[in-house]
């Protein structure tokens, strides 16, 4: 078997789950970053952007520690489910959410911020609440940013390695993702197998991004009002 389909489906599942969660979780964070007037906002922005520059092993290490049975988060999870978060799929999801946070939030926030403020003002003068304004005006005009954010999150999670290794280890069917599979094969000098898997991942990610950016450009681009 050239490609380890089990780890491939696991990776796909992880990427889809993380993208979906970040699509929801990222919206309020991005909204706050785009519209808050708080003077210390830049601190939050810096924290959100941290995973871009932080070595994945560093992030993964702290996630592993935080999820451990002696920490509040880990204890809470154990009391809730009966087992630890580390070395489980759920643990992977949490680590990946943190790792991909900026790739979702930054495009979201950028597209929210680029919505003409006069449109928000117009919506308010027409009697709309901030929530209605968000769903009727801000969201529809930010579709390109939302798609970009989700696509980046998806592709980023597909290729994730360091965080997964730290948090999840290498359990087939549970935490063994494609990139870890590739690493394993290289370790075992199975270059042909590693190449097939790597090439498959490369083509897949490239296709996803091409389709998304292509659609984004053609259909969703919203021009200025004359």
């Amino acid at each position: 078997m050239a490609i380890d389909w089990q780890s491939f489906w696991l990776t796909l599942q992880l990427a889809v789950t993380v993208s979906a969660i970040l699509l929801l979780l990222g919206l309020p964070i991005a909204y706050w970053i785009a519209f808050s007037g708080w003077r210390w906002k830049f601190l939050v922005e810096a924290v959100v952007a941290l995973p871009i520059v932080l070595p994945p092993t560093v992030l993964g290490f702290y996630v592993l520690v935080a999820l451990g049975p002696r920490r509040p988060l880990g204890r809470w999870w154990i009391s809730l489910t009966g087992h630890t978060l580390a070395f489980t799929f759920s643990g992977l999801v949490i680590g990946s959410i943190l790792y991909s946070l900026p790739f979702a939030v930054q495009p979201f926030a950028a597209s929210f911020a680029s919505v003409d403020r006069k449109l928000l003002a117009a919506s308010a003068t027409l009697g709309a609440s901030p929530l209605r304004t968000f769903f009727r005006v801000v969201m529809p005009l930010s579709v390109p940013g939302l798609i970009t954010g989700a696509a980046l999150t998806f592709a980023h999670t597909m290729g994730e390695f360091g965080v997964v290794l730290m948090v999840g280890g290498n359990i087939p069917g549970v935490t063994r993702t494609v990139s870890i599979d590739i690493f394993d094969r290289v370790q075992a000098s199975d270059y042909a197998g590693a190449n097939q898997t790597a090439l498959f991942l490369l083509v897949l990610c490239f296709t996803v991004l091409t389709v998304v950016y292509g659609l984004n450009r053609k259909i969703w681009m919203v021009g200025p009002v004359k």
């Binding site: 006069k118 003002a121 027409l126 009697g127 709309a128 009727r136 005009l141 919203v222 009002v225």
Partner: protein, 390 residues
């Protein structure tokens, strides 16, 4: 700096009485007295009342007109003061009342119109009717689209319609919500004169039926006269004059007003001769030995006194040869320094010892073949020279 021209106040009052709504009292009154520190350098501090009908906000850019509208709408928050429409308080700093924008029932048409680009025309118009049933929403939206003669645009995308159409849609979208007051921030600035006129007619007609306060921001003198029952002149964040257009524009009381109200040409003059029997006097521009003498209306001033004269660029005629048989008393030879097209007017600067700005139509420029370097005669009526105290 009082106006020394004999103000014809009786005529002004008569004119005000002739205006259709000047004396009609019914309807809510918007009252504001507030202060907003916009930046360390600029503060807006105003006290005004706007009765039902048009109140024009007039002033140069940066005078605080839009800030005033934003404060009334609730988009900007004053630092202190009070805003109310009749006895409904919109803002009161002392009582910490600050009604949210969406609860103020304020219709606001922005300078850039702010149509929702992702919605169709009818969706834009129905946006403010979310509280109604679908059927009623549809019915009200259709009715106002017909009233504003844009029913055929209903299913078009808001970003695919022309400037004039967008203006109508923006007005319809605001008016359909039945606002308690209307704020218009230069809504017609970008339109050609003909389109502007028909929209102004539509607005007037609508205003006949819905007597609410309308604050209308404009730079245009023509719009002041076309719409204005009352004018508030704003300068550097302060109200420098208010009254009927006739009072504010024809009888400037302060230098700032004079400059605002379209006296593009303002000069210091020295009174050189007084002719009480003719009701005129002669004033030399730029003091003793100055190059130009103007015949002006008579005001109470001594020989040798220094006054200021304001002449509107649109009140000066240009002739390419010495005109004869004219009633105008001031005919001055000069040389064109520059000809510049601004929108639909041509601004010409003529050097006749002092530099004067003259506004012409495009057709006039073309038929006279005006260009820099050309010799021309400036023709200025005596009564186009407005004298003020220095």
């Amino acid at each position: 700096m009082n106006d020394v021209r004999t103000v014809d106040s009786a005529a002004a009052k008569a004119a005000a009485r002739l205006r259709p709504h000047a004396d009609r009292p019914a309807g809510p009154v918007l009252a504001g007295r507030f202060r907003r520190q916009q930046s360390p350098q600029f503060s807006l501090e105003v006290e005004f009342q706007a009765a039902p009908g048009f109140t024009i906000l007039f002033g140069p850019s940066g005078a605080g007109k839009t800030t005033l509208l934003d404060c009334v709408a609730g988009l900007s928050r004053p630092n202190s003061g009070h805003i109310a429409i009749d006895n409904k308080v919109l803002f009161d700093a002392a009582k910490s009342t600050d009604l949210p924008v969406s609860k103020r029932r304020v219709g606001y048409v922005f300078q850039n119109l702010a149509l929702f680009p992702h919605l169709t025309v009818v969706q834009n118009v129905a946006y403010g009717l979310a509280h109604l049933s679908r059927a009623e929403r549809q019915q009200r939206a259709t009715a106002i689209l017909q009233q504003f003669r844009i029913a055929d645009l209903a299913s078009r995308n808001a970003r695919d319609i022309s400037g004039g159409e967008s203006q109508r849609v923006a007005l319809a979208r605001t008016l359909v919500t039945d606002p308690a007051m209307l704020l218009l921030d230069e809504p017609l600035a970008a339109l050609d004169t003909a389109t502007k006129a028909t929209i102004v007619d539509d607005l007037r007609a609508w205003n006949e039926a819905h007597r609410i306060p309308i604050l209308y921001v404009t730079h245009s003198r023509d719009e002041v006269f076309a719409l204005g029952e009352r004018v508030i002149v704003l300068h550097a964040g302060r109200i420098v004059a208010q009254g009927t257009p006739h009072e504010v524009i024809e009888a400037p009381r302060q230098e700032t007003v004079a400059q605002l109200i379209g006296f593009e040409n303002v000069f210091d003059v020295t009174v050189e001769a007084v002719h009480p029997e003719r009701g005129t006097m002669l004033c030399r521009v730029a003091g003793d030995g100055g190059p130009v003498v103007l015949e002006t209306p008579l005001v109470r001033a001594d020989l040798g006194a220094t006054l200021r004269v304001g002449i509107r660029a649109g009140d000066i005629l240009l002739a390419t040869s010495l005109p004869l048989g004219l009633s105008a008393r001031n005919v001055i030879l000069g040389c064109i320094k520059s000809v510049q097209q601004r929108d639909v007017i041509v601004s010409t600067r003529v050097d006749c010892g002092v530099e004067m700005e003259v506004h012409l139509t495009l057709a006039a420029r073309d038929s006279l073949q005006l260009a820099a370097g050309r010799e021309v005669w400036l023709v200025i009526k005596t009564h186009s020279c407005h004298l003020m105290k220095r």
